[in-house]
Amino acid sequence: MIQFQYERASTAKAAVSALANNAKIIAGGTNLVDLMKRNVMAPAKLIDINSLPLRSIEQQNGKMIIGALALNSQVADDKLVLEKHPLLSKALNAGASAQIRNMATVGGNMMQRTRCSYFYDTALPCNKREPGSGCGALEGVNRMHAIFGTSDKCIAVHPSDMCVALVALDAIVVVSGPKGERRIPFDDFHRLPGSQPEKDNTLQKDELIISVEIPDNTFSKNCHYFKVRDRTSYAFALVSVAAALDLDGKNIKEARLAMGGVAHKPWRLKEAEKALAGKPATEETFRQAAEIAMQGAKAFKHNAFKLKLGPNVIVEALKNAAGLV
């Protein structure tokens, strides 16, 4: 580990001004500390934000506001969350381990870096870690990698489960910077790699995530998070799907659909959602939507299975959401 300074911020404002001087936020530390131990990240200064009052989960004016420091386990078990947004709880519980969820925060979860092996090993090339060094995965071992929105610079995936649910729920990210607050629709928060894979998202270096807001919705009865992974727990998704339906009897009024493990960002499937709206909730309908969802997918040497697995998981998630299983 490279030496660094450590400071505790007592106000959000103090944290933001420290960020302007090349500091890095530390919340639960479950991702950042690992990366520092492997010399993948070497911030000169850490700002510990754990004493900021950002842990609450509240319901206000038709939306739920979840503080950036709310713990993954706290959110997953929260009564209000279970009642209004069970999809979020399911996605959180599908991630990491109980111990890690007890440390991990909502802000940290959104900001976690990819688990691409090439990113993690400083002896191997990675444009995300070291721009210009090349993408190790492109021609390398890419079984876990993206099938949507890749570039020749990076084919890494965003590893979060929570974010797949949040993008499906049309969440808003509230951030605070030197110029005040900014509200970012969840789908615009994470970005595709393009020619700048070193940038995971649109948060500026001197901005702090304050909270995540979820507008009220009508999906709490019929939602499901389906995650397929290499072991039953404590593994990142090969493919995961967040599915939410607003059903009118057997008909779909509105649907939400997003995928994990397939792109550099949580992958919202708006075209497929449109295809579901107004149709009967049947396997047939789900299969058609899944086909639409997979349009434009492109596989690499070891991840072609995701082209087959992806639509199957979409159908399974929808079947579960609709209560057909």
Partner: protein, 751 residues
């Protein structure tokens, strides 16, 4: 012998004698000895897989705060034992030259340790290590097994000795397969697997004097390690002390001496302070061995009645370019079934990788995956129940050695296993049982491992309060050796377990071999028995002098202890207070040291432990997920001296087998010769959610031909046969045969 005493001699489940120390953190492991003035070493690994080191720039590291030294081949002191090429006292079956750390500028594998940074704290050493800059002359490396398989060679050991287990073997006709009525031919691949014990490999090295070394080291044999480093440093063996009181799992990677151990010892010598080296999890993938990637091909022929006609079994295992690691992959094929014609071919593939080493169920677990999968494939081809098929080929003698078994109770295992797993629910036709969306399947696999026994010595002392204290150099890598030995001693003497202590894990104690190859209970157990009996003889002599003929005619088996009294069996039931006897003789304690060695029975009998594993799985047809719903492990391992820890051993083995079947895979990017899965996040060992209820059944019949305790060993058979049981169950559920482990969801898509 008195029957009543034997009734009492039933082995009961006993909590681990060191359980409290372990769960409270009081048990001390190799990395937990805080010696005064101790320094910390961090290894720098090579970033190429083959070539030479052109230069090492260590200036910045040397200037970094707290750094005491940066040691590499450029400035290492002379190590006397390095001159003797090929000297490798502890591992005779591993041919070649083990890597001599910092010996020269040659790089044989990626992440080979090429320098050690020693500093006053771990963090300072880590920081120093990050500053070391190395330049290489890189050469083209070969790490890709498939691309190089044609370059496999016959092992040197096999060339030298045609009777070697790795030599070419033919029984009966070599072409019998060609004309068999039913034939199957299939290839099986087991990827590289890592031992990955929870405890990282760690050593604290301390030169107490210029020629006296003490190491606190995570090893499986204190005496073998002592020999290795005495040779390496050209000092008398008794000058090297090896302490391994607790070992947090090893699964085989403590059976070899590794470069990091030598590096720590060198560093301690060079900085003149004790030095501690703890590997990182990533270094556990590259520096301390692994289960070698192995390709196998089986041709199997059978007749309509299910009688095997022929088995041809070929295998290629990977090794390094500097050391030949061989294992007994093909032995089970030679002796498990009554096939008149059997041919085996074992080959090695040297690659630019580090040397593999035995990993739980070494060789047999790999071979059993192919053999037991092929047995299932053949049963399916004939249309027979896999158990009926195996019973049709049951052999009452060892067809390889042409000797009777010392004991073999596999029929009991078939019967009990069938019952417990619910075999009657299995359908012959794959894919015909469902539970909701999930496909349901049943499978089984068998395993065997030699009842290997070696010499061992135990010292036992008994004091006047009836406390029995024993010492032996054996290690305990987790199975609960002290617990088992306390049970053997209690069983031999009648002394309550609470009054017995078994000290192990130090080269200062009486001799014992490695903890490996399922050989501890059947090697050390008899020595415990012998030492306890020797104590009894002394007592009988003392007692006879005191109370006359009653005790005078007694044999060790005729006396027992109870509540501080010596009791004579038989009619007289004479009793004597131990404390009185000691006081009258004016002594505080008596002691005895006894060695126990294997008998000649091995020349007349084939001695093996047997296992049989049954699995019930669910497979999700749309997503390829496999859930193991139930496992039944049956073992014929002779006397079970410690039922509780033995059951744990089986559960652990079955869990390892689940990993082998479904999740474990060390993946390498061959462009760099570097692993890309190298932590617990992406090298998947099973977690709780992957492990169902595991039901364990022991035949528990003594094998007194194997050893006087009657035990045949259990450690290895716990895993051997588990992976094929699961793979066979997946086939039964789906009709899809996966021959390349692990069975991850992608391999079962499109059912």
């Amino acid at each position: 012998m008195n029957e009543a005493f034997f009734d009492k001699k039933e082995y009961k489940p006993l909590d681990r004698v060191d359980g409290r120390l372990k769960v409270t953190g009081a048990a001390k492991y190799s990395a937990e000895y805080a010696l005064p003035n101790m320094a910390y070493g961090v290894l720098v690994g090579s970033r190429i897989a083959k070539g030479t080191i052109k230069s090492i720039d260590s200036k910045a590291a040397e200037r970094a705060p707290g750094v005491l030294a940066v040691i590499s081949h450029l400035n290492v002191i002379k190590i006397p034992g390095y001159a003797a090429r090929g000297v490798h006292p502890s591992e005779p079956p591993t041919g070649g030259q083990p890597l001599r750390v910092f010996y020269d500028n040659k790089v044989y594998s990626n992440d080979q340790p090429i320098a050690i940074v020693v500093a006053t704290s771990l963090e300072k050493a880590q920081y120093g290590a990050s500053l070391v800059k190395v330049q290489y002359d890189q050469q083209e490396h070969q790490t890709d097994f498939e691309a190089n398989a044609k370059n496999a060679v016959i092992a040197a050991a096999a060339k030298k000795n045609p009777k070697s287990p790795t030599a070419d073997y033919d029984r009966g006709q070599t072409d019998a397969f060609e004309t068999a009525p039913f034939r199957i031919e299939a290839e099986y691949v087991l990827p590289t697997e890592m031992h990955n014990p929870m405890e990282l490999q760690a050593i604290t090295a301390h030169w107490e004097a210029d020629d006296r070394l003490t190491i606190y080291d995570k090893v499986q044999g204190t005496k073998t390690t002592q020999k290795t480093f005495a040779k390496e440093w050209d000092v008398p063996e008794q000058n090297v002390k090896v302490i391994a009181t607790f070992v947090g799992g090893a699964f085989g990677n403590g059976l070899h001496s590794w470069p990091h151990e030598s590096a720590a010892i060198i560093a301690a010598k060079q900085v003149k302070r004790p030095v501690k080296v703890v590997l990182t999890r990533e270094q556990m993938f590259t520096m301390v061995g692994y289960r070698p990637r192995t390709w196998q091909k089986i041709q199997m022929g059978a007749a309509k009645d299910g009688k095997l006609v022929a088995i041809n079994h070929h295998s290629i295992g990977q090794t390094s370019t500097y050391e030949e690691f061989t294992e007994t992959t093909l032995m089970q094929t030679r002796m498990m079934y009554a096939s008149p014609n059997v041919s085996t071919r074992y080959r090695l593939l040297p690659l630019n990788v580090a040397t593999p080493i035995w990993m739980r169920g070494p060789g047999e677990a790999t071979g059993a995956f192919a053999l037991e999968s092929a047995m299932d494939e053949m049963a399916h081809a004939i249309g027979m129940d896999p158990i009926e098929f195996r019973l049709a080929n049951y052999t009452e003698t060892d067809p390889d050695k042409n000797m009777p078994w010392s004991t073999k109770y596999m029929r009991e295992c078939y019967e009990e296993g069938k019952k417990r797993i619910g075999w009657e629910n299995r359908k012959l036709k794959p894919g015909s049982v469902r539970d909701g969306e999930w496909l349901v399947g049943y499978g089984m696999g068998t395993g065997t491992f030699g009842a290997n026994r070696g010499p061992a010595t135990v010292k036992a002392e008994l004091d006047l309060e009836g406390n029995l204290v024993m010492h032996c150099a054996i290690t305990d890598i987790g199975p609960g050796t002290a617990t088992a030995m306390v049970q053997v001693a209690s069983n031999t003497t009648g002394i309550a377990p609470e009054k017995i202590t078994f000290h192990l894990g130090s080269s200062e104690f009486p001799n014992a071999g490695l903890q490996g190859g399922s050989s501890t209970v059947n090697s050390v157990g008899p020595a415990v028995q012998a030492a306890c009996n020797a104590l009894k003889e002394q007592l009988i002599t003392m007692a006879a002098a005191k109370s006359g003929p009653d005790f005078g005619a007694a044999k060790p088996d005729d006396i027992m202890f109870e509540k501080g009294e010596i009791q004579l069996s038989g009619k007289s039931s004479a009793k004597l207070k131990l404390s009185d006897l000691f006081k009258q003789n004016n002594i505080q304690k008596i002691e005895a040291t006894q060695e126990s060695k294997p008998s000649e029975n091995g020349k007349k009998y084939s001695m093996n432990a047997f296992s049989m594993h049954f699995a019930m799985v669910h497979v999700h047809p749309f997503t390829g997920q496999v859930r193991v719903k139930k496992i039944v492990c049956c073992a014929d391992a002779g006397t079970i001296v410690s039922p509780k820890t033995a059951e744990s051993q089986m559960i652990g083995g079955a869990t390892g087998g689940i990993g082998m079947a479904l999740t474990e895979d060390a993946v390498m990017d061959h462009r760099f010769g570097r692993y890309v899965t190298k932590d617990f996040g992406d090298y998947h060992v099973p977690v709780h959610a992957d492990v169902p209820d595991i039901d364990v059944y022991f035949v528990n019949k003594p094998d007194l031909l194997a050893d006087p305790v009657g035990s045949k060993g259990l450690g290895e058979i716990a895993i051997i046969g588990v992976a094929p049981a699961i793979a066979n169950a997946v086939f039964n559920a789906t009709g899809k045969r996966v021959r390349h482990l692990p069975i991850t969801p992608d391999k079962l898509l499109g059912l």
